[in-house]
Amino acid sequence: MEKKDTQWPLWEIFIQANPGIPHKHVGSLHAPDAELAIQNARDVYTRRNEGISIWVVEAKNIRASSPEDIGSFFEPANDKVYRHPTFYKVPDGVKYL
C-alpha cells in the first residue's frame, strides 16, 4: 500500500521583535522537525525584519485553560484589591511611597 501523504506536525511560532521584550505568538505552521520549523518561520513570519529571535513549540505540547472556566478560574483574583498599591491610603504630603 502506498504510504499516506503527510502534512507534518503543527508548530506554534513565537517571535521576539526587539531585544529586551517578550516573545509573542504570531501564528503557526507545519514542519517535519524543530529545525525546519524555525527555517520556515523565518520565511513565513519575518520577511520584513519582524524579529530577532524565534521560538517554535510543537502545538501538541501546549496546554491551555479552557474558555468555559474563565469565571471560576480567574475569579479568586477579583476580590483581592489589596494586591494593588492604590488600595492603601497615604496621608497628604508623604512622598516616595
Binding site: K3, D5, T6, Q7, W8, L10, G27, S28, L29, H30, P32, D33, L36, D43, V44, Y45, R47, R48, A64, S66, P67, E68
Partner: protein
Amino acid sequence: MVKDEKKLLAEFQAKIDKGVKIEPKDWMPEHYRKQLIRMMSQHAHSEIVGMLPEGNWITRAPSLRRKAILLAKVQDEAGHGMYLYSAAETLGIDRTEMLEQLHTGKAKYSSIFNYPTLTWADIGAIGWLVDGAAIMNQTALAKGSYGPYSRAMVRICKEESFHNRQGYEIMCSLAFGTPEQKAMAQDALNRWWWPAIMMLGPSDDNSPNSAELMSWKVKMESNDSIRQRFIDRTVPQGDHIGLTFPDPLLKFNKETGHYEHGPINWEEFFNVVKGNGPCNKARLKARVDADKDGKWVREAAEAYAMKHTEKETLAA
C-alpha cells in the same frame, strides 16, 4: 451543566456586538464555523493560485530591480496563503483536507486568477488593480469577529500596500514611456478592469444570506459598497497617468461624490467561477502537479526528522 444553545448564541452575539474577538476554543454556532472555513480556505487558495499568473513573468521581468520586486511579491502571496491555512486550521479543518478540496475542484478561489498574463504590463495591472481590489476587501475583513482571521488580515494588509504600489509604478513607467509601451499599459487595463471589478463578488441583490453573516461580523461590508470604494479610488489614479477605462458609461457624479459605471457582465463572472475561464484548467493542473512533484520532498524531510528523533532517543 449544559447551557442551552439559545443562551450560548445570545452570549456569542453580545460578545461580537461589544467588539470582542471570537477565539478558536470559544463556543460558536456551526454555521459560523462552516462559513468561516469556506471563506478562509477560499481566501488561502486564492493567495496560492494567485502566484501563478505573476510567477509566469518572473524569469522575463525587464530588469533586475523588477525581478527582485516581483519575486518578493510572489513570495509574500505564498506567505499569505500560509497565514490563512493555519488560521483556518484553528477551526478544526486539516490543511490536507483543504488542499484536497482545491485539487479536486471542490473548493473555489478568486475568479480573477483564471485570466492570463499576456504581457509585462499585466504584472503592472495586477498589482495596481487586483491587489488594489483585494486590499479594499481585506481591510474590511480585518475588522471581522474571528480572532485568527482578523489578525492574519491585519498582517496581510500591511504587506499588500507595496504590492499595490509596485503595480502602479509599472503602469506609470509604461504610460509615460514610448507609444508602444503606453499602448501595452492601456491594453492591460482594458483586459483587467472588468475582471478586477467582478472579483469583489456578485452584486448585493444577487448575494444571499448576508444579513446573518453581517451581524456575526463574518462579512463586514456588502460587495457593492466595497466595489464602489475601489472604483472611486482607482479611477483618478488611472486618469492621472493618461489611461482610459474600458467603460464608456463611467462618469463622476458630483452630487453623490461617486463614480457611476456601466453594467457588469455577470454572465462572464459566473462562467469563470464555474470553471470555464481562459485558464481554469491550467491553474488547477499547475497546483496538482506542484503537489505531486513536491511529495518526495515532504517524505524525505519527514524521514530525516524521524531518523533524528530516533538518534536523540537512543542517545538519551
